[in-house]
Structures are given as structure tokens and as C-alpha cells.
Symmetry: C2
Amino acid sequence: MNKSEAIQALTALAHDTRLDVFRLLVEAGPEGLAIGNIGEMLDVPAATLNHHMTLMKQAGLVKCMRAGRKLIHSADYDRMDAMLSYLTKNCCQGSACFPGKGSAHD
Amino acid sequence: MNKSEAIQALTALAHDTRLDVFRLLVEAGPEGLAIGNIGEMLDVPAATLNHHMTLMKQAGLVKCMRAGRKLIHSADYDRMDAMLSYLTKNCCQGSACFPGKGSAHD
DNA sequence: TTGTTATTTCTATATTTCTAGAAATATGAA
DNA sequence: TTCATATTTCTAGAAATATAGAAATAACAA
């Protein structure tokens, strides 16, 4: 992951609705959720939600597969991991900012 | 750290210049850097840089102390750690998104 | 006090992001 | 094909963020 990808992922999470969506998708696990379901749960109009999902997909934090007429969205844990890893490696010089704690991402 | 604080910290890092600033401050260590020095290093006008520093200070990622006529800014590692911890705990359900890796933030 | 350096505030403009209704498109069922 | 459901695209206005020049403020030195 490079810098602009990391910024994209950070931006994707730095929004109230999008953070809610990501958490829902993490809870939902690999089976994921359809946009319609997410929209109901969070009470967000389809067009607005679609805009946010597009950003998250572009950032790579959300994957999407069609199942019939539903589009199943799920969280990409690896991408999230890569972003956290980028932050600790490139912004915190390894574990430098976590003295005595070590890193989850060696 | 609560959700809106986490979003504030994510937003603070999700910007090209601000991410550069944070990295510079991490490299500089506890001695920190004056805004003027940062502005020279990154070639950003003082007013623009001040705007970004204000956001980062509000997000708690940057601390600031006066030393003579210079204002020394330094990275707040604890805040960064708190944000990463919030993300893994609240968005990834503990170590759920890092199978077999454990967490740096227990 | 006067001057110099460092930073912030004021201000305005430019740009980007957010929101969501309406229309279009895609899928599958009857 | 016709209909219902699911999602996306189009569109436009609203809101937020970014940029930076100029003026104001703060600290210290001479």
C-alpha cells in the first residue's frame, strides 16, 4: 500500500455513515449485506448510500459480489490491515509509537 | 476515545500535507519542530500550514508548546495509538480482522 | 521603544464532498 | 413480455474543506 492508497482508506473511514457501514459489514462477516439492508438499518437513502459505498469500494475496504438481484457487500479485512500496517510502519516508524507493545503487523 | 474523536483523528491523517506533517513530527521525536521549519521542509505557506496544524491539534494528534518565539509541535503517540486501538476494537471486533496475528493494543 | 522573527487570525475564493430526488438500468419472477 | 425489486447514474444544490495573501499578534533582542 502506498501513501495515496492509505489516504484513500483513511478518508473512506473518516465519515460517520461510512464508519457505521464498515462496522456493520465487519459484524456481518464474509456473508456480507445488500445495500438495501444497510440502507434500512442505518436509515440512509439509496443514492446517498451508493455514493458512500462507491468511495469505500474505490478505497478497497469493501468488496462486492452479485447474488441474484442483490449486490452483496462485505468488508475487506486485508485492506484494513494493510492500512493499519501502513500507518504504523510509515507514520510511526515501526513500533516506535507503541513503546513496549510490539506490533500486530510484523 | 469515542466514535467522533476517532473520525476526527482519521480526518486529520487523511490529507496529503497533514500525513507528511505527522510523519515529520514522528521522525523529529519528542523535541518536535517549529511550524516555520515544517513549512520550509514541505514548502507550504504559513497560513495554509497553520490551518492544517489547527485541525491536527483539535484531533489531538499534535501537541504544541511555546519555546521562546517558536512554537514547538510534536506528535502525540498516545492519541495515534488510541485511534488505531479504536479501529481494531470497534471496527474489527478485537482482533477479528487480523486472524492469528493478535493485537498490539490489548 | 523599535525592529525582527514566528505564528495566528482574518478574509475571500476555489475546490471538494455530501446529500438525495428522479430517472435509468439490471435481475429474476409471473 | 410485464412487473417488482435492487442498485446505479444523473443532477444539482448545500455544506464543508482547502488555499493563501495580508494584517494582526506574540516574543525577544538591541
